[in-house]
Symmetry: C2
Subunit: 358 residues, 2 copies
């Protein structure tokens, strides 16, 4: 059983056997022109019905990409990963972005008032815009104000049996089932008649969110809608190397709002794939698969050529962890400075879109 509310790493291998996810394979990759980091660096490693989404696109049909955020904190690198995917699919496939701001959930789960949530929502959306979201091909809503989603959640609650919910999520409190049904409403909103009805919608998620996808696909089938497609990204590990990057573990998390100084400190203390001794590392090279600093470089901050060079120098023991940390920290700080400048210019626009502020 996958638990979308736990904060655990999923064993990827089980996903393919037990849950029927498909690997991203050559047949799929061939159909994607510009692979970007998302497909070019293995950020997305599995999918459901991505082929059907691509087919719809190839036939010139309107497609959409859907995701959401709980506005209870600033963006971190985990949220950036989903944002990058949304923006990639918008650019690469012309997909209309549907973006749910789960302010009710932030209130109910984290005690973030709708007003505070509104502030985080503006900040999160300004990040999205600074990362490249084109708001002209997007629909962005706050959960507390989108009656269509709530109506769908209500209707779905009558279509889904308790047995089905328990099989998917285990024995949970009703509030979590309620959240899940609301998320089904979010995911199916792009197929609401007000948005042109049935269409192929891609939902980029982490593997732990797959129960929501399965439930929503069941509901879509019952409602005569197109089953949403999904892609699954690897987790951004915590900087400590232990768990997935999460807002619940602030020290292991790099926020897009961190000052360059703070970011540098976090990276200099991050977990790497260094060996027990310098000699061993010079001889065997670093254990790059375990290295969080390498992951930052790969998922977010280095260009192809730079990344190749980093891999080479690490694996042959030419460069040790300290030096790579310096190099990556430099890149991160540069990026953060530029991003934060871009973001500043986007705040007014974000407020306008969300109708928050004056």
């Amino acid at each position: 059983m996958l638990d979308p509310w736990a904060n655990q790493l999923v064993e990827y291998e089980k996903l393919f056997g037990e849950f029927g996810l498909k690997r991203i394979e050559e047949g799929i990759l061939k159909r994607i022109k510009n692979k970007g980091r998302i497909f070019g660096r293995g950020i997305v490693f599995a999918h459901r019905d991505l082929d059907k989404f691509l087919e719809a696109r190839e036939k010139g049909q309107e497609v959409a990409v859907m995701s959401g955020i709980k506005p209870s904190n600033e963006f971190h690198l985990g949220s950036k990963m989903t944002a990058d995917e949304m923006i990639y699919f918008q650019k690469e496939f012309g997909a209309k972005v549907f973006y749910a701001i789960a302010d009710l959930e932030a209130y109910a789960d984290n005690g973030v008032t709708l007003e505070e949530g509104g502030k985080f929502a503006v900040s999160n959306l300004a990040d999205m815009l600074a990362l490249g979201l084109d708001e002209k091909n997007a629909y962005i809503w706050r959960q507390s104000q989108e009656v269509r989603v709530m109506n769908m959640a209500y209707l779905f609650s009558k279509r889904v049996t308790d047995a089905a919910l328990r099989a998917l999520y285990g024995e949970k409190e009703i509030g979590l089932y309620f959240s899940a049904l609301t998320q089904a409403g979010d995911i199916l909103l792009p197929q609401h008649p007000d948005f042109g009805g049935k269409k192929h919608v891609l939902v980029p998620v982490g593997a732990d969110q797959d129960p929501h996808i399965r439930m929503t696909r069941d509901i879509a089938a019952k409602e005569g809608l197109v089953l949403p497609s999904s892609t699954y990204h690897v987790y951004a590990k915590s900087l400590s190397g232990e768990q997935k990057m999460s807002k619940r573990d602030p020290l292991g998390v790099l926020f897009l709002s961190d000052t360059p100084e703070i970011a540098r400190k976090k990276i200099m203390r991050a977990f790497t794939g260094g060996r027990a001794t310098v000699e061993e590392q010079r001889k065997k090279g670093g254990e790059i698969g375990k290295c969080v600093v390498y992951e930052l470089a790969k998922f977010h901050f280095l260009e192809d050529k730079e990344l190749k060079e980093m891999e080479r120098r690490c694996l042959c023991g030419e460069v040790l962890c300290g030096e790579d940390k310096e190099m990556v920290a430099e890149k991160v700080c540069d990026w953060l400075k530029k991003h934060q400048e871009r973001k500043k210019k986007m705040v007014k626009k974000a407020e306008r879109i969300l109708e928050v502020g004056e």
Copy 2:
């Protein structure tokens, strides 16, 4: 356990012992100036915190009365009873009426589309207006359009444990819990900041609806709101004398939209308290407590003097059932004609209030 979704008569006596309802007693009655039929004829027989509601009113505080309807059919005498209560409390205590039109529930449970539901809603509301509702001191909403109720239902779902829901309602499908939480939202809407915040709200219900009241009172306590008060009316029996009058049993039900001819037929076939033989009835009088025709007269159609006379003549065997049926049918037909004329004039107003139609 009371089941608000079953269609059974509740044993009234159990309510006081097991569920903590209080009888309407002299102390309460003394505080009500104009008792009307509601309190004068025992239509309301029990309450929770009615004394607190009266006290708030006596102190000159703003008070409200709340109820709702599932717009899946025309009004019948059961719906009229609740409507009469709403209108009585509005008139007698200056209570603002909050009236929920549960169109989503009508769709989810009965397959009534929102459009059809909109038509029944107009008809139901026109009935309310014809019965005397003052729309200037009322807030009327359709479930599908009132995002505040949905937001509250969402939040409440995180505050209520499964154990509490099961203790109240038994093991049910999640859709029913969802409905219950939405009803809690409806009942607490009058205390939303947009309506001036905390206040005493009276909810007139049938006894089978008490689980909703108990749950809502629990939630109100957790949310720091005033615990809603409630009154409990006796059931309008089915014309067959067997079950409570319900939309699910059309032949036993008198609709406010019935033509006088149909209404007359239904009454002439109704169950009475007649004895096995004419002799026995002449000698012992009728069993008036079992008589549905007497109930119609008492709850809806006869003035005090007429009712006293009906009782006297029945109980001493002076008049037999056939004659009383004729007399009551005549009253009902007269009333229906007048009501239907009044209602016709209210349709446009109802459309305007609900923003339905052109």
